[in-house]
Amino acid sequence: MSRTPISVGGLALACVIFCLSACGSQSTPPAAQSAAPPPAAPASPYAALAKLPDWSGVWEPAFAPRPAAGAAAPAPPKLTPAYAAQYAKFQEKNRKTPGLNFVSEVASCVPPGVPQSMQEPYPIEFLFTPGRVTILIETYSLVRRIPTDGKPAPADPDPTYQGTSVGHWEGDTLVVETSAILPETSPLNGINGHSAQFHVTERMRLVQPDLLEITTTRTDPAVFVEPYTTTADYRRHRDWKIMEYVCQQNNHDALDAHGNAAFSLKHQPGE
């Protein structure tokens, strides 16, 4: 006990001496100041990331789209006749039997496209690197690469499930424009397919410290009479990790030969 104050005092003294000598060695003599300064190292592109909002952790989608302020339920989409008939059939099924009634190739492990891939039940994660935002989607293990470096979108990209995205920051809001989404994907739960003109605009921002809001606008003259916008919430879980999700691992729910919902009681290979 009696030695403690002495050793602390000695340590403090050593620190003072060290600091004084360190400061002294760093002070530049007046003669040296007039010499040409060394060329400044280029600012690291990573330095710009410090200005971005903190979206770390993983984000769990809320159960269902949130109604617009003051509305009791999300507004229904205004659809062209062909797609209206398809959507009405889906709504009718929902009225008759609870549970999700949407049948699509996704049941057979074909992944969803944008924007439905953002509305799967399992979490998503954002990675910020210079000039780019990457979204990792747990369900189906999907990746969205969103350049934010100001370069225009490529002229004629191949259609893909996650489409071709270009993003930019408006303050703390990430705005993502996506097109070239494969036309056989679903633009909205209850609708299969869309045209090559399908375009998605997403605005992503924090509305509370641990609540991310994504407003999604779907535009496609073949499907939507007017652009259709929905809002979804994502809750932050800082301690969760994205899990592996390989749909083919043990899928018993592939559609049958007629494209209807089915259930297989076959054992998986290797059992």
């Binding site: 269902a64 929902n94 039997t97 609870p98 949407f102 492990c109 691992q249 018993h252 919902a261 259930f263």
Partner: protein
Amino acid sequence: MKLSRWLTSMLLCATWLAFGPAASAHHSTAMFEWGKEKSLSGTIERYEWTQPHTFLWVVVPREQGGTQEWGLEGMSPSWLGRRGWSRHSLSAGDKVTIVYYPLKDHRPGGFYVRVTTSDGRTLAALPQRSG
């Protein structure tokens, strides 16, 4: 206050009915009699902790003698693994009672809702209905 809580629970119930459980992420629940609880007792043959769904193979005694193998799908590791379940929650040889939603076509299968083990644990495997 009471009314708003009632409205909230009604809204949650309506949401459930409209959008279904998270279980149906990648497929319809049309093959099951969703919401119709039935029960069976048997011995776990195999518990598959796999995506996109966990799967329980259960050997169930038949009334007329002998046994029958049942296959029950469940929520995914992505859902169960974040709510207290793990690949060790159930093991081959465990004697269990399972509440499940049956297949519409009456084959020996369905979707498991909760599992009670012989030591009295009950494991909930679906979100609780709120309405």
